[in-house]
Amino acid sequence: MRTRPDAVFRSLADPTRRALLERLMQKGEHTVGALTGHANVSQPAVSKHLGVLKAAGLVEDRRDGRETHYRARPAGFAPLFGWLTFYSAFWNDRFTRLEDLLKRMGP
């Protein structure tokens, strides 16, 4: 699966998604139900976050009967491991945040 570095970066910007990914990296495969038990958000929200992580190539899933099991996909981090791609995405994101802050600061 080919993913853009900024998609990976954006998917990691959310703390709930980072927590879900961290759990999968440390504890291995989980069902959505098991992950929801450890998260402070609803099951549909967990499913949605997993969908974003999957689209970014950071997790993969497999069906087992009625259950879907998710596991981390370490190779998905590869786009971040290029210095140029990493920092291009990083500074684009930070410029947006800087401009948002300037708007909030008032004159």
């Binding site: 210095w83 500074w91 930070r94 800087l98 600061m105």
Partner: protein
């Protein structure tokens, strides 16, 4: 085997509809930097060592070590930037340049540095460091 250093440079530039004085505050005040860049103990003083901290990701502890190289209020700010993650272990320098425009400020960020190959020999290391400090000299020379 000869190894060469790989030079790297990222430039991001954008015109923002705010005056340089205000952009400068966002680039240099600790609490404002917290909001858009990272948690930090920055001070706009040449030689000040500080760190930027973010959530650890994968095998990276989320810490970037920095040292202020140049401070020219409302115009230019420069600091070293070294992150601990193996794949991103690059000695680099971040330089901000602000230019007043009719509509606000042209904000330019350039991050440049080098990455020496693993198992580098003396020549490789020397070449890399020369590039690194050559970059610093250019930055500092531009302020004279």
């Amino acid at each position: 085997m000869t190894t060469a250093a790989e030079t790297l440079s990222v430039v991001t530039e954008k015109e923002m509809s705010h005056p340089p004085e205000k952009v400068w505050r966002a680039l240099t005040e600790t609490s404002l930097l917290d909001e858009w860049l990272m948690k930090n103990d920055f001070r706009p003083v040449v030689g000040h060592k500080f760190s930027l901290r973010t959530q650890p990701v994968g095998n990276w502890n989320g810490i970037i070590d920095c040292e202020v190289l140049a401070v020219e209020p409302h115009r230019r700010l420069s600091y070293t930037w070294v992150s601990g993650i193996d794949a991103l272990r690059v000695q680099s320098v971040v330089t901000w340049t602000l230019k007043a425009t009719s509509g606000g400020t042209l904000v330019r960020m350039e991050q440049s540095g080098f990455r020496a190959d693993q198992g580098q020999n003396y020549q490789g290391a020397k070449y890399g460091w020369q590039l690194f400090f050559g970059g610093l000299e250019r930055v500092l020379g531009g302020l004279a």
